[in-house]
Amino acid sequence: MTLKSDITSGFKVPKAYFESFDTDFILEQTLKQTVSETGFKTPDTYFDLLEIRLPKTANARTLQQLNKKTTFYLSGIAASLVLLLMFSWPSETPQTLTAEAIENYLLNEEIQSDEFASLLTSDELDNFNPISISSSEIETYIFENAALESLLID
């Protein structure tokens, strides 16, 4: 008994697989012959000395939530400051500070949540709720301002 000479394995590849594989490979290789590295570098001992600065308290989640919430609080604090200034500032002083100006100032200072947190005890952090904000206000704020991409992985 002899084997049939036209027997095949039965395996298939997608249509035009080898043609496109060759094209992509050659295209990539010719580009790599021109340039293949980014040119970026780091400080000499960066990776040797790199330390991840985890939040100091055991309750890391609270700190990170604080980071997300900071903008809420800053907005609220800014608004409160403006109201306070409006009612208590002497009338001869020009009232040029707006909520937006103060909010921008606080945001541009790049104050980190750790810096806020370092001023508070763990108990205070757990109960940190200086401003009462309604659910609908929070929802509106999130839709308009929050970085939803980062929230998706939470």
Binding site: L27, E37, T38, A60, A147
Partner: protein
């Protein structure tokens, strides 16, 4: 190399998580850094994003169910952190993401942590011409040789779409380099 399942178990246990986290950082700090660096360009920004990435990883490790590889899950977090960082920075400076990237490239020429020659600088400019997602795909495949299957998990995009996008990206970059 330590088994991923073992490392994951140690990360989720209170008794071993601290040491396991150090191991995790040692294993992945360079890969994640370079991935982030190619997105945000500057070293200082990359350092900030890397810190945030690892903090987010440790904070969310209990939610990781093992549906994907640990490293693709971490790459996904790093990618999201880098993009969120850029969006926030652009918003803070009240400019578009495109302008922000142009400024980053202009600063690159004087950056002490960039030692690229003219063609490498041109390559970065060429990459900047691509849509954001195509930039990610190009960087991951061209420089890091990440498999399409893994990239598919990181970017939540089909392998076919990734291959097509990469093919187009390489052609656009070749064209940019020969025209400029």
């Amino acid at each position: 190399m330590q088994n991923e399942a073992t490392l994951l178990r140690q990360l989720k246990s209170d008794d071993t998580k601290e040491l396991a986290f150090k191991t995790l950082v040692e294993l992945y700090k360079e890969r994640l850094y370079w991935h982030i660096r190619k997105i945000v360009i500057s070293h200082d920004d990359s350092d900030d994003v890397l810190q945030n990435t690892f903090i987010k990883i440790v904070r969310n490790i209990h939610n990781f169910k093992g549906d994907s590889k640990l490293f693709t899950w971490m790459y996904r977090i790093a990618t999201n952190e880098a993009i969120t960082f850029l969006n926030s920075k652009a918003r803070r400076h009240q400019i578009s993401n495109g302008i922000l990237q142009q400024l980053a490239l202009e600063n690159l020429e004087a950056d002490v942590y960039f030692e690229g020659d003219e063609i490498q600088l041109k390559l970065q400019k060429a990459i900047a011409q691509l849509p954001r997602k195509q930039q990610l795909i190009f960087n991951m495949k061209y420089f890091d040789a990440i498999k399409y299957k893994d990239m598919s998990e990181i970017l939540d995009t089909s392998e076919g779409a990734l291959k097509a996008s990469y093919h187009i990206a390489v052609k656009k970059i070749k064209s940019y380099l020969s025209d400029n």
